[in-house]
Symmetry: C2
Subunit: 288 residues, 2 copies
C-alpha cells in the first residue's frame, strides 16, 4: 500500500520502519529533515513537504508531539487530500481537537481516526504497542491490518476522540501508579529496609503493578535514563486536566502528579524518564 | 506442635484453622468469645484468658486490629511466658512498638517476630498470604514451617520492625495504585467511554496493576462489598504517617489518600471495601 508518514521521531521512525518491513511503500516527512535519513536508507521516499507526502497516498499517518503540531500538519495536508483517503493520527493530543478535525475532513470524504499508542520506544521498535482507536468503525476496519503491523493490543474504543480519551485515562493511571511505587520504595529505604527485598516481598500481591515491577528497580538504582520523558508525561497530564475541566471532574491525584512532575522538571529532570519523579520526592524528603 | 492463637477474627480464624488442618494442637482466645466457637468445633481448645492460652505453648500467634490491642495482649501474656517460647505478631501495627516489645521479651529469653500479612480474607482461607517478617533470623527459621502453612510468599525482611515497615510500604503502594485506577476509570466514564473496554485496552500495559485488574471491575459496577475495609486502610495509613513522620519523610500521595479515605468514611463507607474510594471521588466530581 502507498502510505504517507508524517513525523519520524523516536516513536514515528520505528513504526514507519515496521510498515516498510511489512512490504508497504512509504513516503516520509519530518520537520527536521535529517531524522528521515535512516528511513530513506531503508527504502522510504522522503518528501520535503507534508502535502507532497500526502498526495495520492492511500493511508496517511501522523506521529508528532502535541495538539498544535497535529493541527499544523493537518492544515498543510488538507489541500492535498482527496475523497477516500484515510488519515490516522497516532500522536497523543486533545480529544476535542480530534473531533473537530474528523468532522472537517469528513466533509471532503476523508476518513480520520485518532489512534494514540502506549508502550514507548521499545513497543514501537518491537511492534508491541497498545493502540487505542476512535472514529468510524468502518475506517477502523480499513486501518486494522496496518495497526496489526504496528502493535499487539489494538482496541476500537468508539467515536472520534475515544482513542485519545482512553490514552488520557491510561496516563493518569500510569502517573499515580508510579507515585505509588516511588513513595513505597522511599518509605522502605528510610525505614532501613533493603528496597530490592521489599520489591520481592510486595511485588506479586495487592501492590503489584507494571510501574513497580519495571521502574522500581530503576528508582532503587537512581537510574533516571528515559523510557518515557517527564516532559511528555507533563504534556499528557495537561491534556488530562483539560479533559477533566471540560467534564467538570475533580481529580485530586492528577493535581498531585502535575505538581510532582513539575517539581521533577524544575530539578532538571525534564528529559529524564518518568521514574525521576522519585528524585523530586527525595528532595522533598531531605529532612533527616 | 502446641500453639496458642490470640485473635480469631476475619483473618485470625481461617489462619488458625489452617494450622489445625496441618496437624497442630491449637489453644485459641478471642476478646469476643463466640468468635472461637467454630474453631472449637474444628478441634481447638478455647482459653478464657490470653495467659491461659500462652502458658506452655511452644509458639504463640497474635492477630488483632491495632497497636494498642497488641500491647494489651502482650501485657496479659507476659507473666505467663517462659524462656524458649516463640511469639509471632501477625497484626499490622507500628514498627517502633514491635521493636520495644521484642527488646523487652528478649530479656526473658522469649523470641519475638513481627510478621504482618497481605492478601486479605481470601488469602487467609486459601493459605496464599504474603508474609513479611522482622526479628532475629534464628527465630524466623523456627517459625518458617508454620508460616509456610499460612501463606505462599514468606520473606525475611531484617531486624525487629522490618516486617511492619515492609507492610507499611505495601499499604501506601496499594492505596495510591487504587486511586490511579479510580481516577482513570472515572475520567473514562465521564469522557463517554465504555469503562470495561478501557480496562481491556489499558489493563495489560504500563497502567497495569493488581488494583486495576481486581478492583476496577468492582468500581465500574459500583460494588462496594469489602475485600479489605476502608476502616482498616485508614488505620494502616495512619501508621504509615507515623513512620514517615519519624523518618522526616514528606509523602504527598499519602496525605492525599488519607483525605480520600477519610472522605469515603465520612460518606458512610468505613465498612465497605477500599474500592469505595471511587464513590468519594465521584461525589467530589458531581459537577455536570
Amino acid at each position: 500500500m502507498e502510505i504517507a508518514w508524517i513525523g519520524t521521531g523516536i516513536m514515528g521512525a520505528p513504526m514507519a520502519r515496521n510498515l516498510i518491513k511489512a512490504g508497504h511503500r512509504l513516503r516520509v516527512h519530518n520537520r527536521t529533515l535529517k531524522r528521515t535519513h535512516a528511513l530513506a536508507a531503508d527504502g522510504a521516499t522522503v518528501a520535503a513537504e507534508p502535502a507532497e507526502a500526502a498526495r495520492g497516498a492511500e493511508a496517511l499517518f501522523i506521529m508528532v508531539p502535541d495538539t498544535p503540531d497535529v493541527e499544523s500538519v493537518v492544515a498543510k495536508i488538507e489541500p492535498a487530500l482527496s475523497r477516500g483517503q484515510l488519515v490516522v493520527d497516532m500522536s497523543t493530543i486533545a480529544p476535542a481537537t480530534e473531533q473537530a478535525i474528523s468532522a472537517r475532513l469528513a466533509k471532503g470524504g476523508v476518513d480520520y481516526l485518532d489512534a494514540p499508542v502506549s508502550g514507548g520506544e521499545t513497543g514501537a521498535i518491537e511492534a508491541t504497542l497498545t493502540i487505542m482507536v476512535g472514529g468510524d468503525e468502518s475506517a477502523f476496519a480499513r486501518a486494522k491490518p496496518l495497526f496489526d503491523v504496528l502493535g499487539r493490543r489494538v482496541t476500537y474504543m468508539g467515536a472520534s476522540g475515544a482513542g485519545q480519551m482512553t490514552k488520557l485515562a491510561n496516563q493518569i493511571a500510569v502517573a499515580l501508579t508510579l507515585e505509588a511505587a516511588a513513595e513505597a520504595l522511599l518509605l522502605a529505604e528510610r525505614g532501613g529496609l533493603d528496597p530490592a527485598r521489599v520489591l520481592e516481598a510486595i511485588g506479586a500481591g495487592a501492590a503489584a503493578s507494571w510501574q513497580l515491577q519495571n521502574l522500581g528497580p530503576k528508582i532503587i538504582a537512581r537510574d533516571w535514563r528515559p523510557g518515557f520523558f517527564i516532559k511528555l508525561i507533563r504534556k499528557d497530564l495537561r491534556l488530562v486536566g483539560e479533559a477533566a475541566q471540560s467534564s467538570g471532574l475533580a481529580l485530586p491525584g492528577l493535581a498531585l502528579m502535575n505538581s510532582m512532575f513539575n517539581a521533577a522538571a524544575a530539578a532538571g529532570h525534564d528529559l529524564d524518564g518518568t521514574q525521576a519523579v522519585a528524585s523530586a520526592l527525595e528532595k522533598l524528603a531531605s529532612l533527616k
